[in-house]
Symmetry: C2
Subunit: 125 residues, 2 copies
C-alpha cells in the first residue's frame, strides 16, 4: 500500500452543545461520516468523560477519524486522516461539521507519508 495520505485537521466551534456531550450520537455520526466518504470501518472506540466531553476514534482501513469534544466551550477538535487517493477526507469532515451544527469550522489539510511534513495555510470555511 502506498504511504501517501491526506490528513484534515479541523477546529469546530459553536457546535450543538447537547450533541457534543452525547457519546452514542457522536459514535453514530463518526461511523456514518466514514461510510459517507467510502471508507471501511475496522475499529470503534469512544470514551465519555465526567462531568462532560467525549473522546473517540473510528479506525478505518484507510486510517482514522478522531474527536475530542468540549461541550462547555461548544468546541470539537476533529481529525480525519485517509490513506490513498480514492477517499476524500473532506467529505467526512464536512459531514461531521454539519452533524455537530458547527457555525465556525477552520481546517487545514496536511499531506502525509510523502517525506518532510508540509502544511499549507489554514482555510476558514
Amino acid at each position: 500500500m502506498d504511504t501517501m495520505g491526506r490528513h484534515v485537521i479541523a477546529e469546530m466551534w459553536d457546535c450543538n452543545i447537547d450533541t457534543l456531550n452525547d457519546m452514542g450520537r457522536i459514535e453514530q455520526i463518526f461511523v456514518n461520516a466514514a461510510l459517507k466518504a467510502g471508507a471501511e470501518v475496522r475499529e470503534v472506540a469512544f470514551h465519555k468523560f465526567a462531568p462532560q466531553g467525549v473522546s473517540g476514534v473510528v479506525i478505518i482501513s484507510e486510517s482514522h477519524l478522531t474527536i475530542h469534544s468540549f461541550p462547555e466551550h461548544g468546541y470539537a477538535s476533529i481529525d480525519v486522516y485517509t490513506c490513498g487517493d480514492i477517499i476524500d477526507p473532506n467529505v467526512a469532515c464536512d459531514f461531521i461539521s454539519d452533524a455537530l451544527e458547527s457555525k465556525s469550522c477552520e481546517k487545514i489539510e496536511v499531506p502525509r507519508g510523502k517525506g518532510p511534513v508540509h502544511v499549507p495555510k489554514y482555510n476558514a470555511l
Copy 2:
C-alpha cells in the same frame, strides 16, 4: 477543561520492519509512551491488516496517540495529541521513535483549540 492542546504530527521513516508489523508490540509501545508522558490511558484499539500493517489508537484523558504502519516502506505515521499544558506530547513521540528504531523522524507541532489553525514549519530531527 481548557480547549488548548498540542498536536505532534510525526513521519517516522527507516523503522524496524518487524516491529512495524507486530501489533502486540506496537500496542505495548503506545501504552508505555502515553504513561511515560504522564498521560492516563482510557481506551486502546488496534487493528492488524493483511498482509501487513497495523493501525491503532490509545485514547488518553488528555486526547490521543495514533499509528498507521507500513512495514513494506519502513514507515510509520504517528500523531500524539495532548490537551492542557502539563503533558508534553514530544516525550511520547520520542519514546515511540526510539522504540520503532526510526532513523529519520520529521515532526511538526500544531497548536489545537486556540482559534484558527496555525502550523509552524516542520522540524527534522
